[in-house]
Amino acid sequence: MSFRHLWAVTRKEIQHILRDRATLILVLLTPTAMLLIFAYSLTVELQHIPIAVLDYDRGATSRDFVQQITAGDDLDLYAQVASEDEIEDLLMRGEIKAALIIHPDFSRDLLALRGMPLQIIIDGTEPESGGFAVDHISWRAEKFINTALSDQLQTMGLALDTLQPLDLRVRTWFNPSLKPRNDVIPGMISIMLGFPALSVALTLAHEREHGTMEQLMATPITRTELLLGKMLPYIFVGLVNVVLIPLFAIAWFHISFNGSFLLFFALSAVFLFSILGVGIVIGVFIRTQAAALALSFLVIFFPGFFMTGIFFPISSMPELVRMESLFLPGTHYAIITRGVFLPGVGLDILWPYTVMMFGLGVVFVGIAALFFRKKLG
């Protein structure tokens, strides 16, 4: 491999990026702008979900409980109803998203430490709001139990601690405010870094469309020199984004960054290598920019959103898709970004994902170099 050839291509590509305003915007500003848009549209925090309460208990404790449940901005008490028919009616008309039914034995069972007989009905046509209501009712119920029972236990002369071993409820770690942004935004960085990959796919098609590829093929440049020379500038550009995006996420969304930035930067470079590998494979097989753009969305962005576990947990995917998601660099990178941002884990935990990403990159670039021929037609 001749570094002179490699640098000639890289230098030419950098000059192209800097002088072609559309490319410059695509690779430098789009990722951050998209992060802003997606972060807001995809992680809208649900607030003021209207619920109805049917209180069969009608005691002081249940009244306190209802008041606790609806004290925040998350859940609004839309109506106190007297029958389940009314609940059905309100749900059907879409006026409430969930209903809470408090059983007649609520206070008695609670104070006797026999549990908390509650029923929650949600609107299945809007699972997000319904799920949100269930989560928040449970969360507030838990808080209520702690305060209500601490008085009760004190009167019984027991310490609150005595109950703790029995508390088997799942706790949410690292993201105690339950704000989805905290884990979605680090995950989304992988999608934003798809833009440099898209640019690589486009740049090869661009050369074909403009006839410059024909001239390139008539020179002694080797396939590897050409492909790597094309990738390098977009790795640089991607790394600029790797700095910009977290800065933006921290400054704008107040996301905590608990890990090592240097590690994040290094692993992001590995991810860029592998995702650009996908882009270069597209560029080798596809001849027009329009087709390359369409395929990039199909291969880089859609799976990036739906299959890398950013929004939908991989564990809940069908077996086949789970297998496939392992071959997406974004799956591994999503784990890495979340790990570095939130709990601040290090390479001791993240190395298998790094190895996987690097391996995928080598495979992609290998495929591209193997199938790229210095021939027309």
Binding site: A8, K12, Q15, R19, Q215, L216, M217
Partner: protein, 309 residues
């Protein structure tokens, strides 16, 4: 005779159903200025691309500068300067940056870079536009830049695909002046062109038609091959004159050339009075009627017409 620097034997290339190049036997000697002419779709571009190592050969074989095109296509590339028909320089790069780019790819010794680029810029008349973006150049200057880029590594062989198409007459003349200089310097040049007057400037001409090489000879010999002589007439009633001429004995064919008609006859001296007489008889008038030299253009149109019949 030395051994040919470009040689093809029964070379064919198919694109799906169509055979673009059909059993082509081409032999070009070192130092030749070889003009490849022929109508659109004759297979000129495909031939040049194959010789530049850009297309696979379907059947037959070819070699350039001693390297077989199927076996060692990459060994051919440092030896040739290939100029595609389309403008294929980088529009965002300046004239100078384009030259440097190709100098790097062809491993031009760094010590010679400055001298070579400035010489080529002067040679192509681009010195004043060194810093200008390539896509801001005129069509003729773009062609000259492309030529300069293909010359940066001082190739033994130049493969130029219609380098003057879409270029104004003055630039065309300048371009051919440059080619003549290179030819004088010993470079082998294979140039395709749709312009017959350009074929006259070559040392050897090959006529391609439907993927085949129909004629291959120096321009004078090709002209000599055409039977008959030429008479040029500038009639007032163009259509009637054409119809009349076609019925006269001794007339091989009538070609239109602007407002005049070029009539290919067996003997100009013999037919000239008879044509005058026939015009008078049919009450047709004309501004001029004279014997004219047979040019490459008529020769080719005549040859192609024979083939089509």
């Amino acid at each position: 005779m030395t051994s040919p620097i470009i040689l093809t034997q029964a070379l064919s290339r198919d694109f799906k159903e169509t055979r673009a190049v059909d059993a082509l036997d081409l032999s070009i000697q070192p130092g030749e200025l070889f003009g490849l002419v022929g109508p659109d779709g004759a297979g000129k571009t495909t031939t040049l691309r194959i010789l530049a190592g850009l297309l696979d050969i379907t059947e037959g074989s070819g070699s350039v500068a001693g390297h077989d095109l199927s076996e060692q296509p990459e060994a051919v590339k440092p030896k040739i300067g290939y100029m595609a028909q389309r403008f294929s320089m980088y529009g965002e790069l300046s004239v100078h940056e384009n030259l440097l780019f190709f100098a790097d790819l062809f491993d031009v010794p760094r010590a010679e870079m400055a001298e070579r680029t400035s010489r080529l810029l002067a040679f192509a008349g681009l010195t004043a536009f060194t810093g200008r973006r390539a896509d801001h150049l005129s069509g003729g200057m773009q062609k000259k830049l492309a030529l300069a880029c293909t010359l940066i590594h001082q190739p033994e062989i130049l493969l130029l695909d219609e380098p003057t198409t879409g270029v104004d007459p003055v630039s065309r003349r300048e371009f051919w002046h440059i080619l003549s200089e290179l030819h004088a310097g010993g470079t082998t040049i294979l140039v395709s062109t749709p312009y017959m007057d350009e074929a006259d400037r070559c040392s050897m001409v090959g006529l391609m038609y439907a993927g085949r090489l129909i004629e291959c000879a120096p321009p004078a010999r090709i002209r000599a091959k055409i039977e008959g002589e030429m008479i040029e007439i500038l009639p007032h009633d163009w259509q009637a004159a054409q119809d009349l001429l076609r019925t006269l004995p001794g007339v091989f064919e009538v070609q239109t050339y602007g407002e005049s008609l070029h009539v290919l006859v067996d003997k100009a001296k013999k037919r000239l009075p008879k044509i005058k007489k026939a015009f008078r008889k049919n009450k047709l008038t004309y501004n001029g009627l004279r014997p004219a030299p047979l040019r490459m253009e008529e020769a080719f149109i005549s040859l192609i017409r024979d083939l089509e019949e």
